[in-house]
C-alpha cells in the first residue's frame, strides 16, 4: 500500500466518531456495542487471569479474592459480563457472515429512495437477536445469582 502523507489532524473525529449513534441506524449501534463489549471483555479477561492466578498464593488468597464477586455489586458486574459476552458472540457470528459476503444481497441498479441492500432486514434481525439473547442471558444470570 502506498504511503500516504498525514495531514494535520484538523477536524478528524477520532474516538468521538464512535460515540455518534443517532441517525446512522442499528448497524452503527451494533458497531458501537461490539467495540464497547470487546474492550470491556478484554479488561474482564485480564482481571479474570489475575483472579485465577491468586491461587498460587494459597487457598485463602483465592477465596478472599473470590468473595469480591459474592457481593451485590459483584453479582451485578457478573451479569454485565454475561450480557456483554452473549452480545459480542452472537453479533460476532453475524459479522463473520457479513465479512464473507453472506446475507448482504447482490449488487444491482439502485432506485430512489436508495435502500442499501447491505443494511437489509437480515442484518437488522441479527442485531436484534443478539440484543434480545443478551438480555435473556442477563435475566437468566440474574435469577441464578440473586435467586433463592
Amino acid at each position: 500500500m502506498e504511503e500516504i502523507e498525514h495531514p494535520i489532524r484538523n477536524n478528524f473525529e477520532g474516538l468521538r466518531g464512535w460515540l455518534k449513534l443517532s441517525g446512522y441506524g442499528w448497524e452503527r449501534v451494533s458497531y458501537w456495542f461490539q467495540r464497547l463489549t470487546g474492550v470491556f471483555l478484554l479488561i474482564y479477561f485480564i482481571g479474570h487471569i489475575y483472579e485465577t492466578s491468586t491461587i498460587v498464593n494459597g487457598l485463602n488468597a483465592w477465596e478472599s479474592f473470590l468473595e469480591l464477586t459474592q457481593t451485590v455489586w459483584g453479582h451485578l458486574f457478573l451479569i454485565v459480563v454475561i450480557g456483554a459476552s452473549t452480545f459480542h458472540s452472537v453479533n460476532g457470528i453475524r459479522l463473520i457472515f457479513t465479512h464473507v459476503g453472506i446475507g448482504l444481497g447482490t449488487p444491482g441498479r439502485p432506485d430512489y429512495p436508495y435502500n442499501p441492500s447491505s443494511l437489509n432486514y437480515r442484518q437488522k434481525s441479527g442485531i436484534w437477536i443478539a440484543l434480545i439473547l443478551s438480555v435473556l442471558a442477563m435475566y437468566y444470570g440474574f435469577n441464578i445469582l440473586f435467586g433463592e
Partner: protein, 261 residues
C-alpha cells in the same frame, strides 16, 4: 404544486459553523433567520444567507442537483448533501450546518479533500488492460462485449460522485487516516468486478493492516450515501474474494473489432 405551497413562508433558524483556518481565527456558530417554503433546500437557505445577510460565508457548491457532490456537509450532525436535503423534511426549528467530519477545515463549511482523493487515486481507479485497446499501428479499434449481467456487477458502484459523505460518516476513518475509507474501497471493488479490467495486483493495494481489514461494517457509509452506491456491500464482497470464500471466476470481456469505415 398548489397555490398554498407558494404562499406559506415560514422561517427557519440556521446555525452555521464559522472558522477561518487561514487567519487562525477561533471557531464559532453564527445564527441566521431564513425564510423557506416546502421545497427549499439547505443549500438554498445557505445561498440566501450568502446573498442577503452575510456574503463572507464560505460554502462549496456547483450543480444544485446531487450530481457533483460539492455541497457535502454535516446537517444536524449527519453528513448530507445540502442541495439534496429539504428543510421541511428535517422537521426541526433549528438547522445546524457544520463542515464534514474527518476532512480538514479550510474555512466555514469548506473542507480539504486532498487526502480523500489521494486514497481514491491510490486504488488505481481506471480500467487496466494488458494490451492497448486502440492499436494505432494496426489502425484497428476494439470495443468490449459485456452482458447486462456483467454490467450489473459494478454499475451501482460506478454511480459514486465522490461527495465524501461516506468518508465523513465512517468511524474507522476518524481513528486511522491510512485507512482508504469506504469510497476508495468500494471503487476498488467496482474495477475488480468489471470484466474489462485485467489488473492482477489491484487487491494487493488494500491487503494491509490499515487497508480493507480495518472495516468493521458499521454500515454508516451506505446509510448516508446520496446515490445508492452502498459502499459497505462492495467492501464486504471484496473482502469475501480476498479471504478466498468467493471464487474469482471473472471472465474477461471479449474484445470485438470495430470497423470505423
Amino acid at each position: 404544486m398548489s397555490n398554498n405551497d407558494n404562499k406559506i413562508e415560514d422561517k427557519i433558524k440556521l446555525k452555521v459553523y464559522r472558522e477561518n483556518r487561514g487567519q487562525n481565527s477561533k471557531s464559532y456558530y453564527d445564527s441566521f433567520e431564513v425564510p423557506y417554503k416546502r421545497w427549499t433546500t439547505v443549500l438554498d437557505a445557505l445561498l440566501y444567507v450568502k446573498g442577503y445577510i452575510d456574503p463572507s460565508l464560505a460554502i462549496r457548491y456547483s450543480c444544485r442537483m446531487a450530481s457533483c457532490g460539492s455541497c457535502g456537509m454535516k446537517i444536524n450532525g449527519i453528513p448530507r448533501l445540502a442541495c439534496y436535503t429539504k428543510i421541511s423534511e428535517l422537521e426541526t426549528s433549528t438547522i445546524e450546518c457544520e463542515p464534514l467530519g474527518n476532512f480538514p477545515i479550510i474555512r466555514d463549511l469548506v473542507t480539504d479533500f486532498s487526502l480523500f482523493y489521494k486514497h481514491h487515486k491510490n486504488i488505481q481507479p481506471y480500467i487496466q488492460s494488458t494490451e492497448s485497446v486502440e492499436t494505432a499501428a494496426e489502425e484497428k479499434t476494439y470495443s468490449y462485449n459485456q452482458s447486462p449481467q456483467d454490467v450489473d456487477k459494478y454499475l451501482q458502484f460506478s454511480y459514486c460522485i465522490k461527495c465524501g459523505l461516506c468518508y465523513s460518516a465512517c468511524p474507522t476513518v476518524g481513528t486511522d487516516l491510512r485507512f482508504p475509507g469506504p469510497q476508495a474501497l468500494a471503487q476498488l471493488y467496482r474495477y475488480f468486478a468489471d470484466t474489462r479490467d485485467e489488473s492482477k495486483n489491484r487487491l494487493n493495494i488494500v491487503d494491509d493492516r490499515h487497508g480493507i481489514w480495518r472495516c468493521h461494517f458499521a454500515g454508516s457509509c451506505s446509510k448516508v450515501c446520496p446515490k445508492g452506491v452502498d459502499p459497505a456491500l462492495g467492501i464486504q464482497l471484496l473482502r469475501s474474494y480476498m479471504l478466498g470464500v468467493s471464487k474469482n471466476n471473472k471472465k474477461q470481456a471479449e474484445k470485438i473489432e470495430v470497423n470505423l469505415d
